[in-house]
C-alpha cells in the first residue's frame, strides 16, 4: 500500500502517533486530505479549543479563535475528531511543537528523534506519561466514546437514549462534537427555566437532539412569541414536553399554523390555545392531512360546523387520525350500530377508540339483546361507557355477563 506524500508528512509530524494510528492509517488516508486542504494549524486548534477530555485535562488555547460551526458542514465524521484527540496527550509532553509541517518534511526521515522504550526515566516523568486512549477513529456506535466524552456521559446520566439516537443518520457524530459547557448546558438551563421537568429532559432530547444545535436566541424568540399569543408559562413547558420539535420551528411557521387553526375551526382564541396546548403536535405537522380530515368530517360523514367544533375541542386527535381508520369506525358506528350524528358528536371519544374493541363489544351486546344506544329508551348504554370501560367492568356493569362469556363469544366471531 503506497501512502502518498501528504500522508507521510502527516505521519512524520506526529511521530509518536504513528504506532497508534497504524491500523487506521488506511481509513484516514482519504479523510486526512480534507484536513490538509485547510490550513493545518486551524484544523488542529479548531478542535483543541473545544476539547474537554478527561483524564487529559482541559485545553484552552484562547489565542486561536474557534472556527465557526463549519465543522459540521464538512463531510468529516468521527475520524478526524479522533485523530485530533490523539494529538492532545502528546502536547503534554512537549516533544514537538507542531506549528509548521513543511519544515519537518525538509529535514527528512532520519532527523526524527524518538526516545527508545528501554531508556530509563525518572518516577516523575513516568507518572506524567499520558497513555493515549485507544479510541477508534470511527465506529458504528457511541459505546467507545461514552466514557471519554463529558457530553455523552452527562447525556446518559440525564436519561437520553443514545442507542436510539445513533440509529439516526449523522446524529451520533453531531453529539460527539458537541461541547457540554458551550452548547449543551445553556440549552438545558433554558429548558429548565422554561419549566420543563427534569425527568422529561431525557425523553425530549431523545426525540429531538437538534434542540441542542438550535441557537439560544432563536429559542428565546419563539418562546417570547408564544407568550405574546397569551400562552402561559406552564402551557409552553407542557407543549415543549409533548412535542419536542416545537421550538425548532420558526416564528412564521408557528404563526401560520395558529392562524390556520383559528380560522378553519372558527374557534375563539381561548379554545384554540386549549386545543393546541393539549395536542401541540398540530403545530409541528404539515397541514394537508389535517385539511383532508376536516373535509372528510364535513362531506363524507356529514357533520355540521358546530358539531365539528365540539368534536375537535373534546378530542383533538381526530384531526391527525388516520383517515381510513376514522372512516371505518364511523361507518360501523353510524350504519351498523345505528347511532345518529348528534349522539356521535356528543361522545366523540368513540372516534378515537380501536375498531375491533367497538365491534366485539357491540356484537356481544347485540347477542345478549342489550344493544340500546338511544337515550330515550330504557337500558340506554352511552357510547363512552361502551368504549372507555376496561373489559371486566364492561362485562359486569354494562353487559351483565362474566368475562369468560365474553371471551367465549369472542371465539365465535
Amino acid at each position: 500500500m503506497q501512502l502518498c506524500r501528504r500522508c507521510v508528512s502527516l505521519l512524520l509530524s506526529r511521530p509518536l502517533l504513528s504506532a497508534a494510528l497504524q491500523p487506521s492509517t488506511h481509513t484516514l488516508h482519504q479523510r486526512s486530505h480534507h484536513i490538509l486542504l485547510q490550513p493545518p494549524v486551524h484544523s488542529l486548534t479548531q478542535r483543541h479549543s473545544r476539547e474537554t477530555w478527561t483524564p487529559c485535562g482541559r485545553r484552552n488555547l484562547s489565542d486561536h479563535q474557534a472556527a465557526s460551526p463549519d465543522v459540521y458542514n464538512n463531510k468529516t465524521d468521527l475520524a478526524e475528531r479522533e485523530a485530533e484527540k490523539h494529538i492532545v496527550p502528546f502536547e503534554n509532553l512537549n516533544v514537538h511543537q507542531i506549528s509548521n509541517q513543511e519544515s519537518l518534511s525538509d529535514m527528512g526521515l532520519d532527523a526524527v528523534v524518538r526516545p527508545s522504550p528501554l531508556q530509563e526515566i525518572s518516577e516523575e516523568e513516568a507518572v506524567q506519561i499520558q497513555v493515549p486512549s485507544a479510541l477508534p477513529p470511527d465506529s458504528f456506535t457511541l459505546k467507545p466514546y461514552v466514557d471519554q466524552s463529558e457530553t455523552l456521559s452527562k447525556l446518559v446520566q440525564l436519561g437520553v437514549n443514545l442507542w436510539e439516537l445513533e440509529q439516526r443518520p449523522n446524529v451520533g457524530s453531531m453529539l460527539v462534537r458537541l461541547d457540554f459547557h458551550a452548547d449543551v448546558a445553556p440549552k438545558l438551563l433554558f429548558l429548565k427555566d422554561l419549566g420543563v421537568e427534569e425527568s422529561k429532559l431525557g425523553t425530549i432530547l431523545t426525540k429531538n437532539p437538534f434542540i441542542l444545535t438550535e441557537s439560544l436566541d432563536n429559542l428565546e424568540a419563539r418562546v417570547s412569541y408564544l407568550k405574546t399569543k397569551k400562552f402561559s408559562q406552564e402551557s409552553v413547558a407542557v407543549m415543549v414536553s409533548k412535542a419536542p420539535y416545537l421550538l425548532n420551528f420558526s416564528v412564521e411557521r408557528l404563526d401560520n399554523r395558529l392562524g390556520f387553526f383559528q380560522k378553519q375551526l372558527g374557534l375563539s382564541a381561548e379554545k384554540t390555545r386549549n386545543v393546541v396546548t393539549r395536542l401541540p403536535k398540530l403545530l409541528c405537522r404539515s397541514l394537508e392531512p389535517i385539511k383532508e380530515n376536516l373535509k372528510v368530517c364535513e362531506l363524507e360523514f356529514g357533520f355540521r360546523g358546530n358539531e365539528i367544533q365540539h368534536i375537535v375541542t373534546t378530542v383533538p386527535k381526530v384531526l391527525i387520525a388516520n383517515k381510513r381508520k376514522l372512516t371505518q369506525i364511523f361507518d360501523f358506528v353510524h350504519n351498523t350500530m345505528d347511532v345518529p350524528h348528534s349522539l356521535i358528536a356528543k361522545f366523540p371519544q368513540v372516534l378515537n377508540a380501536k375498531f375491533l374493541r367497538i365491534k366485539e363489544r357491540h356484537l356481544f351486546l347485540e347477542y345478549l339483546g342489550r344493544a340500546q344506544y338511544q337515550p330515550s329508551q330504557p337500558n340506554y348504554i352511552s357510547l363512552d361507557r361502551l368504549v372507555f370501560l376496561p373489559d371486566d367492568v364492561f362485562c359486569s356493569d354494562v353487559a351483565l355477563a362474566t368475562l369468560e362469556d365474553f371471551e367465549r363469544f369472542q371465539k365465535t366471531l
Binding site: 437520553v160 375491533l356 366471531l413
Partner: protein
Amino acid sequence: MTTKAARLFRRMDGLFAVYKPQGVHWKLIRDTIESNLLKELNSCPPPAPQLAVKFQLLSSGENNGSKDLILSPSMLPSLANHPLVTGPQFHKVHVGVGHRLDAFSSGVLVLGVGKGNYVLEHLCKSHVTRDYTLEGEFGRATDDFSDTTRVIEKTTYDHVTQDKLERVLAMIQGANQKALITYSQMDLRTQEAYELAVKGLLYPHGKSPPILTGLRCIHFNPPHFTLEVQCVNETQKYLRKLIHEVGLELRSSAVCSGVRRTRDGPFKAENALTRQHWTADCIIQAIAHFRKTTRKIRKSGMYRQTDGQLNSSAKIQEQIRSEIGQSDQEHVELTSPTSDRIVDRVAPGTG
C-alpha cells in the same frame, strides 16, 4: 449465573394457538406477539454496570506544590454498558406462523416461538386436517365470493330446502372422497388399502389440491346457512368458492359471510388465546399447556417415513388410536378420525 431475562427467554420455546380476529392481517398478529414478548424480556432488570479501572491524576495533598502528581487507580462504573448506550438486551424473538389465515377469516392460528419453529415445519408437512365453519347467505353472488365485495348477481332462493342442500353436499363429498383415493396413490384393490380406507386412514401423498374429508350442514335458516368442513391443503378462498358453488348447484347463488377455523390439527379453539391474553405470561402458559402435543409432532416428524411403510404405520396408528380413544364424536360421522391426532411412529422394525 443466568439473568432473569435469559431464563425467561429459555422458556419461550414451543407452539401455541391464538384466535385471530376478523379483518386483521396475520402478519400484524405475529408482529404484535413478537413485540409483546420483547417488551417483557427487555423490562427485566439489566445486569449491574461493569467497573473499569480509571487512573486519575490527583495532587498528593501535601505542600509540595503542583508537581507532585499521583496517579491513583479507582474502579468506577463504566457507562459503556449502560442500557441507554447499548440498547435493549433482546432485539428479536423468532415467532413463526403455521397455516396462515387471510384477513377476511378468523380462527385458530398456530404460532411457534424459538425452537418451536422447527416443530412448526413438521406440523405443516404432516397430514393434519383443519376444521372450518363456513357461513353462507343465499341470494347474491360477488366477484370475490365474500359478502363485502361487489355484487354481480342476485337470485331468488325460495326453492332451496334443507333436503336439496343435503343432497348437494353429499354429491360434493362423494367427489372429494374420490379425489382423496386418487391422491393417496394407493391401489384400492389390495386388502391393506381397503382396510385403511374403511377406517378412514387415507391421506393424500405429496402435492394435492384442496380435499374435503368431511362436510355437513349444521344450520339452515334461509337465506343463511352454516356448513362445517374438515379439509386438507386448503386456502380460505377455496372455501369461499365452495359456498359459491353450493349456491350454483342449488340453482341459486350464495356468498360467504364468514370463514372461521375452529381446529388446526391438535390445536382447538378452546385453548386458543384471545386478544387480551397476548401477553408474555399467558403465552408461556399456553406453550406449557401444548408441550405434550409439540413433543408428539416433533417425534412424528422425525420418524416420518417414505411411502413404502404402510403396513407398519397402519398397525401403529391403530394401536395409538385405541389408546387415545375417540373423544370428539360430534364430527366423526363423516370424517376420518385420525387426522386430528398426531401419530407417534415407532422406528421401523416391526414391519
